[in-house]
């Protein structure tokens, strides 16, 4: 087994996929004044997971559509979902999303790379999302 750090030099005793079902649902940005992604919807279909983001536009929410997500654990031996990555390519801009689930919240790193000739700088944003649990 090759490893670039001791952390990755592990004995693997399971071939199970990363368990991620419990993170499916609607997640709301903790910042009501956000000018970026307002809502995330994580869904599962046939063992695969998908994200649908909705962002704040000048005239209301802009649905970004559904994109597959790659589920992530917290370490190489864990099979418990701890984050995900996914990408959107809108032609003029690509957006990479990098999510880490910390204490039940999604900490979402958002990396925007413009590909048009608008002169806009690539930028990042980090925001927090809580699941809409429907209780209380």
């Amino acid at each position: 087994m090759q490893a670039a750090q001791l952390f990755d030099l592990v004995e693997v005793n399971s071939t199970d996929p990363i368990e991620f079902s419990h993170w499916a649902g609607k997640w709301i940005n903790s910042n009501p004044e956000t000018t970026g992604i307002a809502r995330l919807e994580i869904s599962e279909a046939h063992g695969e997971f998908f994200l649908e983001a909705h962002a704040i536009g000048p005239d209301g929410l802009i649905p970004w559509g559904r994109t597959p997500i790659k589920t992530l654990a917290a370490n190489p031996t864990s099979r418990k979902g701890a984050g995900f990555t996914c990408s959107y390519d809108f032609g003029f801009v690509s957006v990479r999303l990098q999510a880490m689930i910390v204490k039940g919240l999604i900490v979402l790193g958002q990396f925007h790379t413009f590909k048009d000739d608008s002169g806009r700088a690539s930028f990042f944003v980090r925001e927090y999302f809580a699941i809409e649990h429907g209780r209380y």
Binding site: M1, Q2, A3, A4, Q5, L6, F7, D8, L9, V10, V12, S14, T15, I18, T35, G36, I37, A55, I56, G57, P58, I62, W64, K70, T71, L72, A73, A74, N75, P76, T77, S78, R79, A82, G83, T85, Y88, F90, G91, F92, V93, V95, Q98, A99, M100, G109, F111, H112, T113, F114, D116, S118, G119, R120, A121, S122, F123, F124, V125
Partner: protein, 144 residues
């Protein structure tokens, strides 16, 4: 900003076309950073340097037989539209390809501490889970 494509309101933020935002406080990221956990089994050091017109990121992992130098990666600078800890500063993203694995990293400074978010994807058949991890680094002298 008018007549430009957008998918969210912040894509229309005028500050994005300000050349200064592309390198804002970049000096704070540059240099040699050491893991705050002296017993880490992960990445012991990160070196961020200016090279020609761009930036490079060099990572040193803790290996079974000593330090493991990862291949040097290009650092892509990302502007930050928001203040963190009272300061607005750019971040750097760098992707590493080690053949059997890839690592996607995002590096930023918060309150003087370098924070790395590391996404590791294994491409071998070892059965290891792909994972996301976060570690913290302090600024060290270039040569000890």
């Amino acid at each position: 900003m008018t007549n430009v494509a957008f998918k969210q309101r912040s894509h229309l933020e005028p500050a994005l076309t300000d050349p200064a935002i592309r390198i804002l406080n970049i000096e704070g990221l540059l240099g040699r950073w050491r893991n705050t956990n002296a017993r880490t089994n992960g990445i012991s050091e990160i070196h961020i340097a200016r090279e020609n017109a761009g930036f490079t990121v060099r990572i040193v992992g803790v290996g079974p037989d000593g330090p493991v130098d990862w291949p040097v990666a290009e650092g892509v600078v990302l502007a930050n539209l928001e203040e963190e800890a009272g300061q607005k500063a750019v971040a750097i993203a760098a992707n590493f390809d080690l053949g059997f694995m890839t690592a996607e990293t995002h590096l930023r400074v918060n309150k003087g501490v370098l924070v790395i978010v590391l996404v590791v994807t294994f491409r071998d058949d070892s059965g290891r889970s792909d994972y996301i991890n976060r570690e913290f680094y302090y600024k060290a002298a270039e040569v000890e």
